[in-house]
């Protein structure tokens, strides 16, 4: 097919048209539909909406602070004297030093016992060696 004939056929497509019934029905439905608000109006609306959101978030933050603050206050006022004294620095220092001493004693006892066990084992080994040599 040569190009002239091809272009003529393509131009013939211009005569294709929608049916009248579809046209009437579609037109009617579309013109009854609402338009979406313009973006400019949308931005204005968004600005006020964001103000409302900001106010709501601020109020929520304040309420949260009040709630946590109340809980913390109640916790401190309701603690027992025993717990409070445990925070005394001089008491803490005494406890820590005695704790260190207890650790050192414990370590010494461990080393002492370990040494005795090791020397017992070495004695056993040397006795076995002597017995083998005598054979």
């Amino acid at each position: 097919m040569n190009e002239d004939k091809l272009l003529k056929i393509l131009k013939s497509f211009r005569d294709i048209r929608p049916e009248a019934e579809f046209r009437a029905r579609s037109r009617s439905l579309i013109l009854e539909a609402h338009q979406h608000p313009r973006k400019l109006a949308g931005i204005r609306l968004g600005f006020f909406e964001s103000l409302k959101l900001g106010a709501a978030l601020t109020l929520a933050s304040i309420l949260t602070l009040i709630v946590f603050g109340s809980v913390s206050y109640l916790k401190f006022t309701n603690v027992s004297p025993a717990v409070l004294t445990s925070f005394d620095p001089s008491v803490l220092k005494t406890e820590s030093t005695s704790f260190d001493f207890r650790i050192q004693l414990g370590e010494a006892r461990y080393f002492d016992e370990a040494t005795r066990d090791i020397s017992a084992i070495l004695d056993e080994i040397s006795k076995e060696e002597e017995a083998r040599r005598s054979l």
Partner: protein
């Protein structure tokens, strides 16, 4: 372009239904034709065309002339809508067959049936081309749009559009020529 088109658009943007009605009446045939030749099926073409104009009416507030004709904006909506249609369409078009509604519509032009059949053959051959080639051929030779307008609609530059047109015509001639042999 319609006479007094800019004024009609402004009125329609203010919600003037009659003004948009004039725009609808003027642009419905070319938009329907473009969509129909792309999807090859009358029912789908009617549905998609309706969606194009509904979207245009509802979002008319977003249209800004700025050197872009209203027709280009409509074609852009139609172009995008057809792409979405291809993405969601589950069934595949039979590329060897032309929908009977096509032949019926082509025949109602009061031309002889031979021409309608030729149109059918060309339609089948066009459907085998790449999407951008189809778009350029239909917009250029059926809808008589300029290369500049076509470039805006399909998102390419004018040089690319001319190249696509050249290759599309060559492939179409080869495809139809081999069938005739």
């Amino acid at each position: 372009m319609l006479d007094n088109e800019n004024n009609l658009i402004k009125q329609a943007q203010k919600g003037e239904v009659g003004s948009f009605g004039h725009l609808y009446d003027h642009y419905l045939p070319p938009i329907f034709r473009y969509v129909f030749l792309k999807v090859g099926n009358k029912q789908d073409a009617e549905d998609l065309t309706h969606e194009v104009f509904l979207s245009a009416w509802q979002n008319l507030g977003d249209y800004r002339p700025q050197g872009h004709p209203f027709s280009s904006w409509l074609y852009q909506i139609a172009h995008n809508r057809v792409i979405d249609h291809y993405r969601t369409k589950k069934s595949h078009l039979d590329l060897e067959m032309v929908d009977e509604s096509f032949v019926r519509l082509a025949s109602t032009t009061e031309r002889d049936l031979d021409l309608a059949m030729d149109m059918g053959k060309v339609m089948v051959a066009i459907k085998k081309l790449k999407e951008d080639q189809q778009d350029v051929l239909l917009m250029r030779f059926v809808e008589d749009l300029s290369h500049k307008e076509i470039a805006e609609i399909i998102g390419k530059n004018e040089g690319a559009v001319r190249l696509i047109q050249h290759r599309a015509l060559a492939e179409l001639r080869e495809s139809l020529g081999s069938k005739e042999e």
